[in-house]
Symmetry: D4
Subunit: 240 residues, 8 copies
């Protein structure tokens, strides 16, 4: 497929089909640094081996290619804001462990990465509850929906996404008794405006009970949150 | 509107219509990290709730969309250098507290962000007086217009915008007895040339009486300058 | 106590005695940026209010002061490598939720911060199991103790501490199905050697299911790990 | 005084005795980068010319020297936490413009720099009101004292000092309608822990109406806050 | 050719035709920072002087120009993933010293730069053996192909390419007794995601026996690996 | 011309027509951060006031506009590699002080900025002598042309441009007794590859007698070199 | 030995006694981040298991402790400039593979780390040839000793140590046909002066055939150079 | 002298006695990264070979050693603020080319490095004229002494030293027609406070005719300024 020299001992891609079983987290094809041909080929192999392929950071050319290539063979779920896709064979069955994940965003602009996290959590069989645009510029907007996440939805873990000052996750973590995953986003301007200010502020949090993932790493936030929530759910079902 | 999953408890955007009343500063829709659909929708809600919507960092597609979407419903004021817009319903009335703000730029290239600041100050009801291209490469150009800002216009506060060496705000702050807001801009080249040199130089100022906002944050500079000036004006009117 | 001017409305320190109840995590007095007098005073207040005070980053002068000040009034547990202390009144009782935390270090030099994490987890009532010096320079040392943590100790969560290349947390996270908290340490040399390389490598992990805390933030790693483990334990006891 | 070569046209130090009159802000002798001899000499000249000398960042050797050198000639006010000093001749009179400044700190460790700011404001003739240790790890501690600053003390401007995550100034700025000066402090650990995280978070604030000074620059924060407050006060007295 | 002023003493480019003889490494034309005209002209001179021209980082316009310009005069070998080219006159003969180089990549996305390295090694007359997508997220994929590289192919040196966490080279270097050249790639996201995390992690390796080249510098990795391997081969043939 | 609000006291641009007389260096219009309209307007004013306008970093749209706008009114000298332009009225006369400047580049890719420097020196009336592609990868190429610059051309000052490792200026400065201006360029890759490595290496030079300008600042390098050379020339003519 | 909690499954240090056999490189005890007790204990175990212990970055207290603790039990070789030590039992025998390593330093100040490298190479059984203070400020000092290293000593590999501008390794690598290991040192001042300029310049080298280790990592440079040289020697003896 | 292994081909230090003749700049022994023994030994050799030795960054132990070691053999000139020394044999004669150098400092704290520059210029035989504490916080202090430097002293070149905001060199360079060497100093606080803000601001200067040296590099500033001034002087004497 790739122009990889004939002296190669093995092929270029070795998809990790067993990751879901071994880790409890499915492999996601991050299309950003791959050619359209590479991503499509790897998606095809996942679809064959596991009945499903998850792709994130999908450029327009790849989106078109996926729609054409897999038409009639698999259902395509498309998330336009996150530019992520799930291909699913009609016969694919997913276990539903039932972890409960809450996701909060500081602003409307943080949604693409919050959606990446939500996607992965749902694909891991979690229930996902989301609240957005409740940042610290107007904290009065936060209390009521936060209360509902904790008391009605009874979430096992919270993902809090924020760009710019990155202050919301610290504020939330100071108020709740569930673990918080801070998800800094590349929303901002000027110095520290590619998410560095948000990331550093979260790393420096004075509110205990929070850990962070890298800037814009919605998939990573979803993976650890889903893992925590599903282990809680397994214990609830008596399997912990 | 957005592809935000159905398990969401709330919608994606929660505009802060009460900010002007609570803070004395209206909310500005920074379009840079939002989709055209998101920005338009939020503008629509502001227009309905407050009679006005202010947008900055407007990309060409959004400009076109605004012109089409709101034709006949609202007046569009368009600032081509700053790429900012104000939509206003004909029945909208704005209070005019009357703070006096002076804005100085070191070079012609700093104008886009100075204009953002001027826009916000005017929308807050301030009188705005501007002087541009009086940087330290030729200080002789500075004295006369600075004198006029202080003595004729009697400004309450000064915004000084500069990129490159960022030296002008320190020079001005060493000469005047009004508070100075330093506005570093992303004008420059090579190391420190995205505004970092200007920002750091202003943060290190040896002239007391200056505080700074982030690189290219004309809106932020306008907000604090307008707030200071309008409080002065309120006191002048006997309301402080 | 401090030379804080008489116009102050309130005193200088407002200890958060209710944090353990509200958050499930006790407040820790980080002595690093405080004077000996400040730290001792705050410890005294905690001892009175809650029967216990936890101090980290204790400089030698403060250690001496604590030993003298609280002699006969409280037991002092001292951790010489981490330079941390727990003061406990004899009548203090701690709930024992029983979460199970595993802690792994890449090298001997990472122990001070791993010990900080262990201390906080134990004070939160967790069982703590530790393994050290199993870094990637000799991966053969890792398998057997990792197996014992997972199968014998059945830990709910793993903290993996590493300085230098920071590679161990990614390797561990690729192998296990429990959530992993990466704890980068300031062990290293040259570029990136104050823990930045380790932190960045963990933030960039290609193994899903890991989140990180800041460099040398053993207390923070312990807080979130203890929170996760104790919620698992509560669910096991039927309270989740 | 200094070993400055005989070909020098002028002496080494040119104190700016007229700064208070010209700028409304007195010059402060920052002792950090000067020799004991230089600082003492400059203090002597200020005392002669203006009846007062203000020194910050005073090392122990200089403190001893000041106490000895000026005994009987001037009163020494000493701030031990900030390590700052004011020398005052008994006949010195200071105008009292009467601006009202509020100062808030996120933690006990931020006090040294908050005290620097308070010192300068008081020397500028302002009334200073302070509140400390009300950071976002326990936001419930903030409301009541903030209310008192705004309603009882009716401050003209707020300085909010914070290290670590730097979140408090954004939270406060989202709630109040007075200008806020963010004062980041070098309290923290690991990446961004010398105050960079706090500074960047404040530069990226999503709450309008705030500007910042550099890390640990209490003198700078006091200067601009005092300037704003005193201009308000002058207007109140009818002189604006 | 270039608009280089007439007072120039010499022409703009001085190709180093003797480098292969002097250094054992041929010169590569890095097209990234050159105009199409410059690159084509230099390639022409190399082809004339040495019978071969190697170009890397070839933009599409240059690729088209090379295909047209040299049609019929030289064979063009084109590597689409690396975007590299070798032009060869039919009469060109290359010595074949026979060093043995192994190249491993952590992920599929690292292949472009691994291919650059492979290209240069082959042009230096080495045998190249490659293995890809065996990163630390699933270490079980590594053992068998690594064994084959060491025992079957008996490589003299290993290049290990990795982006993101950059952990694979350290893991490999901890296991083998051949020199390892770490090749960090610009694959990643967020902080450290342009290859800085990978580079720093490799520079901080705790496994001895590894040195590194710059991010994406496949040519540089190939040059030193080829040099080491060919000297081994020369010694094997009795010429060392 | 620009959408600059009507309350402006002055216009947006204040060209410094007297700079050549005052400084000995003409003002250059750096078009990079200006709109086409701004650059054209400023060029027009310079042409009227001084008979000449110099523009650097000219984008294609501006090039087209200049060609059309000034056709028949002024001669346009165009440097395609540097993308710089000189507009000159036929009656313009330039003094020719006759300083002698040598310019050396490490590689072909450094030529655009070397050409900027050469352009400014020539416009200042210097004789310019250039040598290119003599970097440290093959130092044997350096000796002969360097000798000619020093002995035949007898240059008063040397500009040495280099990207990547930035080693050439230090090597040259160790060999010659004329002042050297280091001009780092943004040629490189990976860490430090936007010219930072070159700039830092020059700032750290162990060879005395060199100062530097910012990355890609050919105009700045030309300005100081021309100033030095022309003062030498004036002294030679007896006017120093 | 350390205050490591009793729930530990294993002890704190797991020395890698088999590293020499597995890797061809002995483990070095880097004392910098360890307590005196930890370092002494690990040295004791190495001495028992392998007859030798190598320690680098030895602080004065540890030096004293080693001299006292091992007196009469082992010979202590002490390198005062590098502050490194080798403890050796009288019955210890070391194989002598006989690789030939050349080490060059740019300045006298680079010697501590060059000596670390030389120490490790000698302990690996290499012949080491050194040349110092031949940096680019006076290149005429370089030619003759470089010639002797290549022709008389016939080194298999060169380590070139340089701080400040880091230019020497690139210059050397442009001249020789043996692999070069660049060793940047923390000698310098101002920006980039902790070795960053030197490291970046080496990473950006335009001379092919060089790879680098981290700043001040003399041990790492010695390890890879010794590995390369000893493999060459093995091949010379017919074992490659 | 140093513990440098017996296989060394040459000694550890190779002083460049001919540098003054070849470069016009004498070699300075920077004692900062050398042992007392190394610095003393090198000073001895310079004294023997050239009759003079110049040392900068002299720590107290070395100062004591120099005073003792060379008592009676050479005169010691000691600069206490710069901590620099010149040893001179009574029979040493220095040529006096007579270049004229002006040195300006922004603050009193910048004097140590300005003095380093002055020292080297005087040792190169220049006349040095200095002005200090005329920074931009009070520009009115600048005009008169600057005028005297230009008109009375008729300096050939200006060194302008500044820390903090680094604005003074740009202001001066905008006013004068002599070449300006910017000398940033490590005077400052918080972000950019180790001289980075000053250096970056100078690199970004908008006033043409300035080049810079690294932070605190007074020796480097003196070297290039002395070189420029002495060449002017040589031309004045008819030798240029």
């Amino acid at each position: 497929m790739m122009n990889w020299n004939s002296t190669s001992i093995h092929d270029a891609a070795r998809p990790d089909f067993g990751r879901q079983a071994r880790k409890g987290v499915p492999e996601v094809i991050i299309a950003e640094h791959k050619t359209v041909e590479q991503s499509t080929e790897i998606a095809k192999r996942f679809l064959e081996a596991t009945g499903r392929a998850i792709l994130s950071r999908v450029p327009p050319e790849l989106e078109a290619c996926l729609r054409e290539e897999f038409a009639g063979q698999a259902d395509l779920e498309w998330l336009p804001v996150a530019r992520a896709a799930v291909l699913r064979r009609s016969d694919a069955r997913q276990p539903e462990p039932g972890g409960r994940v809450g996701i909060i965003t500081a602003g409307t602009s943080d949604i693409p990465w919050a959606e990446e996290a939500a996607l992965l959590c749902r694909e891991m069989g979690c229930q996902v509850h989301t609240v957005s645009d409740v940042g610290v510029a107007g904290l009065h907007r936060l209390w009521e929906p936060l209360q509902r996440l904790l008391e009605e939805a009874q979430v096992d873990v919270l993902i809090v996404a924020a760009g710019m000052d990155g202050a919301l996750p610290s504020v939330v973590s100071g108020l709740v008794d569930v673990p918080v995953i801070g998800l800094p986003t590349s929303v901002g301007y000027g110095m520290g405006g590619k998410g560095e200010a948000a990331l550093l502020s979260m790393l420096q949090t004075c509110a205990p009970g929070m850990a962070v993932v890298n800037i814009d790493n919605g998939i990573g936030a979803g993976a650890i949150a889903g893992l925590i929530a599903n282990r809680m759910a397994a214990t609830r079902r008596g399997g912990g």
